[in-house]
């Protein structure tokens, strides 16, 4: 009972924050409690706490809600593919997606990952040169429809940057494509190590 109340309080705060930060006005507000119920299928891989069970699966905890919604919409439309997500997203309505996103967004952020200090420092340098923070935020915490990178699985980040670089993953507006195009494999490893080390 106590647990339920505190969850409700957390979700309430998250919901409030979500409303305030988004520049877009939606008619039907997202419902994180309903989202938790709708997200049962997600938990097997992404975890009830939004921390994934495997390094090749992304953590969803504390992702900006729109970043989850946007990826789900693109999986449903088969514009983005991978991890059987196209099939899992197929039956979801827009409102389902907003609710699920609100739930994962409300969870505490994943812990910072330790790593090779030199590699992390190199990643920070590249992040600065490439202006990652101008969209992903000062601590790469994500915002609007733009993903949280802080505390994300390093292996997942590496795979996605390589997919964006090769064109295997959809590049929504050309920005990430042009950002990833000039990165070497070593650069990508360093960037991923840096992002994973943030909280």
């Amino acid at each position: 009972m106590k647990f339920v109340i505190s969850t409700k309080a957390i979700l309430g705060v998250a919901f409030f924050t979500t409303l305030c930060l988004s520049p877009v006005i939606y008619a039907a507000p997202p419902d994180a409690l309903a989202g938790k119920a709708k997200a049962q299928t997600c938990f097997a891989c992404h975890g009830e706490d939004g921390i994934s069970i495997s390094p090749d699966i992304p953590n969803l905890a504390a992702q900006p809600p729109l970043s989850i919604t946007y990826q789900l919409i693109q999986f449903r439309g088969q514009q983005r593919k991978g991890g059987a997500m196209e099939a899992l997203a197929a039956p979801l309505s827009d409102q389902d997606m907003r609710d699920i996103a609100a739930y994962f967004a409300s969870l505490p952020a994943p812990p910072a990952k330790s790593g090779n200090a030199d590699q992390i420092a190199k990643g920070q340098q590249i992040s600065s040169t490439q202006y990652c923070n101008s969209c992903h935020g000062p601590q790469l915490q994500g915002q609007k429809h733009i993903a949280r990178l802080a505390g994300q699985s390093k292996e997942y980040l590496i795979a996605q940057l390589k997919n964006i670089r090769s064109g295997a993953r959809i590049d929504m507006d050309g920005t990430m494509g042009s950002a990833a195009r000039g990165l070497s494999d070593d650069d990508i490893d360093a960037l991923a190590a840096y992002a994973a080390s943030l909280k």
Binding site: I25, Q130, N133
Partner: protein, 412 residues
């Protein structure tokens, strides 16, 4: 073809140069230094103080709002006019064209769909006639065929009106266009004589010395399949129309970003010579604003001037002349322009349809808001992209945030 290959070679060089610098930077001392090296194309022209994360792009509209949730009552039009929800359920619906039978075709930028809106017995039905296209933003209807401008090619659906429920496979009309993603989506318009498709090839970055193919308006001869440039120095035009009577091409142009919050402006332009006009990009913007970087040693007097400055960052997109009979007489010959609205500006602007009134000399007499209400303080619920005059004299406005089309009518 040869031309295109040269072009990609040039790009390959540019990217190779960028890569070298990046890896050199990566090998340097690991301390977090100020940004150095060649930034990615999307970041060119930005300075450190323009890297404010609060000014990151707006989330693009990629889903459709349910019809009963669209707050159409918030839209405001002048007295005597009426605005209503006309069609919905078209994720990212953008550019529009009307066929002679009254079907309205709608292109998209992010969802890869093309829609057809059919009116039958007073009811409207939305059909998704194409999926999985690459940025099919431009649509034009020619002799029973729907032409679609994707990012790097023009395709055609023959006998489309008879086959809306099972469209034929498209015929590729022209596929040698540049593949750059930035400003690669197209607005397309059929010339009054039915001979040419006009569309833009936008500049492949915010501000850059572009290849000569880019920052242009071109036209494709439908008989010979020859592509020719009709205007250059046009950063990115996502709206154009031919003036009734004069048949001149008029077009909107989006100004560069990150120079300042209040300049340069988006512009309304007029093609008074069929070829050879240069509107200044990347050297001069809005006819009188030298680029802080590329304008050095240049003069705005070298270039052709816009007709009108629409304001900075309003994102002036679709435009049409009003030549119908339904609106009051003083609306005849006016231009309506959809302003998609700003993103990298602290105080949002645009998010409206404006009316531009010309005198008999084609000088702008005034410009005023015509449809407003999508923007509420610092938040928006919709973003107008294109306007389309229907045969009955009413006007459609597409909105890619709600995936809906609104209709503005007068009287009754």
């Amino acid at each position: 073809m040869k031309y295109n290959m040269k072009n990609s070679a040039l790009h390959a060089l540019m990217f190779a140069a960028g890569m070298v610098v990046v890896s050199v930077a990566g090998a340097q001392a690991p301390a977090a230094a100020p940004a150095s090296g060649i930034p990615p194309t999307w970041a060119q022209g930005r300075t450190a103080d323009g890297m404010n994360p609060a000014l990151a792009p707006n989330p693009p509209g990629i889903s459709a709002m349910p019809a009963d949730e669209i707050p159409v009552s918030k839209l405001k039009v002048p007295a005597g006019f009426k605005v209503e929800l006309w069609a919905s359920g078209m994720p990212n619906g953008r550019s529009m064209t009307e066929s002679p039978s009254g079907t309205v075709y709608v292109g998209t930028r992010f969802t890869g769909n093309v829609y057809a809106v059919v009116t039958k017995d007073g009811k409207r039905e939305v059909k998704t006639i194409a999926k999985g296209l690459h940025r099919p933003n431009g649509v034009a209807f020619v002799n029973g065929s729907l032409y679609v401008a994707e990012l790097s090619r023009i395709i055609r659906y023959d006998n489309i009106e008879q086959n809306l429920d099972s469209p034929p496979a498209p015929v590729v009309v022209f596929d040698a266009l540049p593949k750059d993603e930035p400003h690669g989506w197209k607005f397309m318009r059929l010339s009054p004589d039915g001979q040419y498709l006009y569309f833009q090839i936008g500049t492949p970055a915010n501000i850059v010395v572009q290849p000569v193919t880019h920052a242009t308006i071109v036209r494709l001869n439908l008989k010979t399949n020859i592509l020719e440039t009709v205007a250059s120095g046009v950063r990115n035009s996502v709206g154009m129309d031919f003036q009734p009577g004069s048949k001149e091409l008029w077009f909107t142009n989006n100004g560069r970003d990150w120079a300042a919050e209040d300049k340069p402006g988006d512009t309304l332009n007029r093609l008074v010579r069929p070829k050879g006009m240069n509107f200044g990009y990347p050297f001069c913007h809005q006819g009188d604003f030298l680029d802080p970087e590329f304008g050095k040693g240049r003069s705005c007097e070298e270039f052709d001037k816009p007709v009108y400055n629409l304001g900075a960052h309003v994102a002036a997109l679709g435009m049409r002349f009003y030549n119908g009979k339904q609106f009051p007489a003083d609306y005849k010959g006016n231009i309506f322009i959809a302003e998609h609205g700003s993103w990298n500006k602290t105080q949002r602007v645009g998010y409206q349809v404006v009316r531009v009134v010309l005198d008999s000399q084609n000088k702008v007499v005034k410009s005023e808001p015509f449809v407003t209400g999508w923007l509420e303080g610092d938040k928006f619920w919709g973003r107008p992209v294109d306007v389309q005059m229907l045969k009955d004299g009413s006007m459609l406005v597409s909105d890619d945030e709600t995936g809906a089309i609104f209709r503005v009518s007068y009287g009754k």
